[in-house]
């Protein structure tokens, strides 16, 4: 029963969780953290909101119900991995990461990523969960542990800041280099 529930959950969440991690870490880190996340989900299978007791005929849960909580677990596992990495290989890891990420972000998105980087870590996460994972403020609250109200406020402000930054750049005729954008701040 427990196993069947876990398998049903895995069918629904593995791919979105993998995308979540790939958006935030190198491919290798994403894979490691995904395994760790699945272990946590197995251990805490009884706590997953929206996952029934498994007595129903359809073992597959509703993604909208289970995913925000699972994103929260992945987020925690990623933070743990980063802390561990930081202790071990702070410099090496950073070098590797910058090499990996540079070609992955096409030049025309560099401004956007620079604008995202200028946000605080939590604001950035809220914006990414909204835009890339497609979560509602209530779901973002579940994934981050913030209150829905706090999420709405953060999201609103972060969007305004991003739009402001990007809008200003768009107005500049040669505003394509991120260094120029930074120096203007």
């Amino acid at each position: 029963m427990r196993r069947a529930r876990f398998e049903g959950l895995a069918q629904v969440v593995v791919e979105p969780l993998h995308r979540y991690l790939v958006r935030r870490a190198s491919a290798e880190t994403a894979e490691d953290v995904l395994s760790e996340t699945m272990l946590v989900l197995w251990r805490r299978i009884d706590e997953v909101p929206g996952l029934g007791t498994g007595s129903g005929t359809d073992p597959r849960p509703d993604p909208d119900e289970v995913l925000p909580w699972c994103y929260g677990v992945a987020r925690g596992c990623l933070a743990n991995a980063r802390r561990a990495d930081g202790r071990r290989l702070r410099l090496v890891e950073r070098l590797i990461r910058s090499q990996e990420q540079a070609p992955a972000w096409p030049a025309d998105h560099s401004e956007l990523h620079a604008a995202l980087d200028a946000l605080g870590a939590l604001d950035r996460e809220v914006v990414r969960l909204w835009a890339w994972e497609g979560l509602t403020p209530r779901q973002i609250a579940e994934a981050t542990g913030l209150s829905p109200n706090a999420v709405s406020i953060r999201l609103h402000r972060a969007k305004a800041r991003l739009a402001d930054r990007l809008g200003r750049k768009d107005a500049e005729p040669t505003g394509h280099k991120r260094d120029e954008g930074r120096s203007g701040q």
């Binding site: 427990r2 791919e15 993998h18 790939v22 994403a30 251990r43 007595s55 835009a131 739009a163 990007l166």
Partner: protein, 198 residues
């Protein structure tokens, strides 16, 4: 730039669209998770890893007893009451038992003595494959007030507990093997309490 434009711009910059990471193999991941989970579960302090399960039980059938057998994977979670002893271990323990098909004799103090964890409990709720016991008496190794038994089995009918009934349950390394959980009459229970001095 309005919300929709911003959203479109963010989406077009989604690294998942461009990063070349192979999609995960879900089945392999599930298998790996379950294998790792069973291999790394913390074991109770009193567990003796070397003891073979065949020492523990494997008896013949008797009327009126609960039979718990046939490929059942069962775990015990101790819901901590007073917070000391082995029940203070924070993580619920779940392991997979390699139970064969078994018929079980009426338990005797000697037949269950080999378990580091042994209690007399009353079933307070049965939800799906999870059974909650109120502990009447700890015979060995534990001090929690409630224990949750999680049956992880493809054959749910082999795991039958009735609310309000009394059971004697033995576990080792967080696993309740076949024949280690038995319905018990008042007479049997008093025999056990006497034998274990509880």
């Amino acid at each position: 730039m309005n919300d929709d434009e911003l959203l479109a711009r963010l989406k077009s910059a989604d690294p998942a669209l461009t990063r070349s990471a192979p999609p995960p193999d879900i089945d392999r991941l599930v298998e790996a998770t379950l294998n790792t989970a069973t291999a790394t579960v913390p074991q109770p302090a009193k567990a003796t890893a070397g003891r073979s399960r065949r020492h523990l039980l494997g008896l013949a059938a008797a009327a009126g007893l609960l039979v718990l057998g046939g490929g059942i994977a069962t775990g015990v979670m101790a819901n901590n009451g007073s917070g000391s002893g082995r029940s203070a271990a924070p993580a619920p323990v779940t392991l997979t038992a390699q139970g064969g098909s078994a018929k079980c004799a009426e338990p005797t103090p000697d037949s269950l003595r080999g378990y580091p964890t042994l209690f007399v409990g009353t079933v307070t709720s049965v939800k799906g494959s999870s059974v909650t016991f109120h502990i009447d008496h700890w015979l060995k190794g534990g001090d929690a007030e409630t224990v949750v038994l999680v049956g992880d089995t493809g054959i749910p009918e082999t795991l039958t507990f009735s609310e309000g009934e009394h059971y004697i349950v033995g576990a080792k390394d967080g696993v309740v093997p076949p024949c280690a959980a038995n319905g018990a009459s008042a007479e049997t229970i008093s025999k056990f309490r006497q034998a274990f001095g509880k």
